[in-house]
Subunit: 422 residues, 2 copies
């Protein structure tokens, strides 16, 4: 490891200063921002203020006084530029799962409004190794409305990419894809996919869980119809932080969604007995949002205020390239089978490797304070968050991985016992 060279790169990094916004766990190399992003100092202060002053002292009046009632939209508008959306199309709420249910239902109402027959066009196309919850939500909707109205169709990712026109057809109602694969980090060509979907009259839902905050996303430019995403990975919103949903402006006047709770009403505080949807993106809201959780997201997003997603992407690619070069240099590249695309253009902000001992190696890394993660059946994932990951971090991670592999410490029994989650 040439740490002098890595430190030179850090010194020349225009984003290096951003690391100071974050609480970096002591003596730790944190390469798991693709699972749970780190806390910012601003978030910690904000949570303390929302608890102590806003809730503790100002109580119920905070719904007005501290803008709680507008927080889903405030956060949505702050998220919008990060994902290439004009304001008014993004709102923060619920989980990705719940938001997918809304997006799926709403996407069908787009087709209904066009007079499409549900019998002729009911397929929701996704990939077999999409993140499971995405598939589960289609299965849940299918169970509720019947397979004659909604049918999940799965393609192998590679086959889909090899021939979009073969899979996305006049029978496709909705194309629901995650831009960056959670296992492999493969990035799908969303602009091209959306173009093909629209050419045959299908509606597209993009899951940005592993994209938002990690790389430039251009929802408006792509002409995406719907998108969902998570704020607890690269956006650093906190464990299980509220998700977001995007609806393209052109669909907002007509779509409806069935989780029509009072926060999605045109006038929630009129307490009408009949639902009348809000006209804007607020129609995608359902129940009362958690103010503690959403305030944390709001504060965390401020770390993005002075940085472009192009800069973030550039550093992300460099971090991964350095990782791959050092892996090669350390003689481990033969043993770790990189399942992520080697072409950085086709990749998100992570690198994944298959290894039969992936679980144990991950545990041994964690013991040495290199936080990576494991995904079944045998993948070791390293995530790069350009806002706080340094080039020196990458060097330290490789140095410790090399030690673990040379000493075979991962074979010790304590690393071989699986816990519920990693």
């Amino acid at each position: 490891m040439n740490f002098a060279e890595l430190e030179r790169r850090d010194a020349a990094d225009p984003l290096a200063e951003l690391r100071n916004h974050f609480v970096i766990p002591k003596n730790t190399v944190y390469l798991d921002g693709n699972s749970l992003g780190l806390l910012t100092h601003a978030t910690q202060r904000r949570v303390a203020d929302v608890t102590g002053q806003q809730w503790g002292q100002d109580g119920i009046s905070s719904w007005n006084q501290h803008g709680w009632v507008h927080l889903p939209r405030t956060v949505g508008d702050k998220l919008a530029p990060i994902i290439g959306a004009q304001p008014g199309q993004v709102i923060c709420c619920d989980s990705i799962s719940v938001n997918l249910f809304k997006a799926l239902s709403a996407a069908f109402t787009v087709l209904d409004a066009r007079g499409e027959s549900r019998r002729a066009r009911k397929q929701v196309l996704s990939t077999a190794d999409n993140f499971p919850t995405d598939l589960y939500m289609v299965q849940g909707l299918q169970q509720l409305v019947g397979a004659e109205n909604c049918e999940l169709v799965l393609a192998e990712e590679a086959e889909l990419l090899a021939n979009l026109a073969h899979h996305i057809t006049a029978e496709t109602a909705i194309v629901m894809l995650t831009e960056v694969n959670f296992r492999s980090g493969r990035r799908l060509p969303m602009a091209e996919i959306i173009q093909q979907a629209h050419a045959v009259g299908a509606v597209v839902i993009v899951d940005l869980a592993h994209s938002a905050g990690a790389l430039p996303v251009e929802l408006d430019e792509w002409q995406a119809d719907f998108a969902v995403g998570c704020t607890y990975k690269y956006l650093n919103g906190g464990p299980g932080a509220p998700a977001f949903i995007y609806v393209a402006e052109r669909h907002l006047p007509t779509v409806t969604q069935p989780l029509s709770g009072w926060f999605g009403h045109a006038q929630p505080f009129a307490f009408d007995a009949t639902f009348a949807a809000a006209t804007g993106i607020e129609k995608m809201l359902s129940g009362t949002p958690s103010i503690l959780a959403m305030s944390a997201v709001d504060a965390a997003l401020d770390a993005f205020s002075d940085v472009s997603m192009e800069q973030v992407r550039e550093k992300s690619v460099q971090l991964a390239e350095v990782f791959l070069a050092l892996l090669d240099e350390s003689g481990l590249a033969g043993e770790f089978d990189c399942i992520s695309p080697l072409d950085s253009e086709q990749r998100g902000s992570q690198l994944s490797f298959a290894h039969p001992e992936a679980y144990a190696i991950c545990q041994a890394l964690i013991e040495r304070k290199v936080i990576a993660d494991f995904r079944a059946p045998n993948y070791l994932r390293f995530g790069f968050t350009p806002l706080y990951t340094s080039f020196k971090d990458v060097g330290l991670a490789l140095q410790r991985l090399q030690e673990i592999m040379q000493t075979r410490t991962y074979l010790e029994p304590r690393f071989q016992t699986r816990q519920a989650v990693t």
Copy 2:
């Protein structure tokens, strides 16, 4: 106001000590726990620990190390005794709105499993002045599955109570009621309603938003089928805190719900492409829960650990009775039309009064640091939270109300301008 007498009552109150667990806003009489319960010191400490240590230092490992992955069930089991449920039937998640959607859908699967025809039994009976979000969720489900599969039927509350058998019939699929009316505080006789529903084969969903933590609830004894409730009112979980859902043990093996996100999977971390529901109450989970928000609820519930709901109820009734007596004594009873039942048996833990100037009076009270709330069109609500409301609080509230009414300060223009929310 005989404050000496009120202070004697406080001194003799077996729950008086519990007030010390709470952060009481400075110089404030807080009678709005039916809208947003107060912060406990334990919650404030816990939120700081979850932010700083758990998320900030221990990061992703906290899912195991700090029990994050089990938190929805941990909190559910802590809630269970407060609402008369054996453990394993309650889980903390999402909002009431979202949980109602699950409960409604699941309730229909109970009927489906019995071989009931949806054509013959599709009605969801509720009251016209139920909390709006409850009605909206039925409307949303109806829109999604069609009026031939789900139809909202509304009864006037008084008419329903006058003749249960007339309204709850063999055509009723689901009876969905809120035990305590959010406007009037009227408490419905749930045991009797459930008995009638079961007699004609209907399934019951109880909304405990204004009951849980305020009065004894006996879900198991009543043989309720489903319940939902909120933790941000009398349970003091924080603004927009996650809600809960109860499913009677007898239904757990068979019911399904359509918001089948990965946290409701039997093995979430196996990442299977096909949904297989958890066998227990976890099947009601959907997406990743907010750990910040749910940890706050977990800590807040500790205030209930050494108190019985019968004690809470006894003090709640006394506080309301003292309020009514002092209102009478102050000569204001004629001007404020009490829309809450005067028989405490028929009432939750609030008193509501109709007054043409309710909004302005509420604003004037708030300026004098008596926190009550307003509900459209012209109701002034006072909530009593026995864990922190003192008898002296009630005296101070009445004293300040009397001043406001005598001086007619509520007529000043600044009190007459409405804000978005109160």
